[in-house]
């Protein structure tokens, strides 16, 4: 009888848990956190050079885009990580005015004005800060309360 009650209650808990699947969020990831900060700093220092011709900075631009591509692939494959992945997608979309949008503007005009650089940098930095802030808000450990309970009672 005791086992039966226990089983029924566990099944109820499983239903509760399943009903809340959509709230699952990836846990904090040290690699993501570090890489986001690194790429933010690299982007800012590259933007500081945007008053020089775009073609003179091709190597650095290529390296930055490659790094961004690697992080995006990593974020795409982390489970329950849609929000962070979508934030990276926004940062890199051609028609959004963040990293790639800035590079397009730079390429189009050859150089950009020195007054424009800090203003654009502020916009992109704000987006990066939200990414970093969101990663920090994530739980540091996976709280598998139900599985802990099941394991402890088997």
């Amino acid at each position: 009888m005791k086992t039966f009650i226990k089983s029924v209650l566990i099944i109820i808990s499983v239903f509760v848990l399943n009903a809340c699947q959509t709230t699952k969020t990836a846990i904090f990831d040290q690699y993501t956190y570090q890489k986001t900060i690194e790429i933010k700093i690299e982007t800012e220092s590259l933007m500081d050079k945007a008053n020089t011709p775009y073609n003179q900075n091709l190597q650095e631009i290529g390296e930055l885009l490659q790094e961004v591509k690697t992080v995006m692939e990593y974020e795409k494959n982390r489970p329950n990580n849609e929000i962070t992945y979508n934030m990276w997608r926004l940062l890199c979309e051609k028609d959004k005015n963040f990293i790639v949008g800035f590079l397009n503007q730079w390429q189009k005009s050859g150089t950009v004005s020195t007054t424009f650089i800090p203003e654009a940098k502020g916009q992109i930095s704000e987006a990066f800060d939200l990414l970093i802030k969101y990663e920090v808000k994530k739980d540091k450990t996976n709280q598998g309360l139900l599985s802990d309970f099941i394991n402890a009672n088997n």
Binding site: L90, N97, K108, E119, Q123, A127
Partner: protein, 106 residues
Amino acid sequence: MDIDKIFNQLKEELLGIFNNSFKDLKGEAKKDLEEFLVQSEEKLRRWTLLLASGDITQDEFAWLVKSQKDLMLFHTLYATGVSKIKLGHFKNKVIKTIISTIIALI
């Protein structure tokens, strides 16, 4: 150049996005986004003045204004993510309560 006219038009557009995307938001998330709107106002005024003084080109001005609209999307994602985390914490509390009840009953 009528700075106030340009500014009011931009503000209306941002408010439109705000009302469509955040009508269901409450508490901290809503406060964050209201703060974003205040910051948008300051930025738009500054950029309009930079354009009027010739410190930035029309292209650059348009780029900055669009980037502010794009940032709004970024804030939407952030607010959604934070709400999801909070909901997850609530879920954990519910499960914890169920587990405590089970333990007490057995």
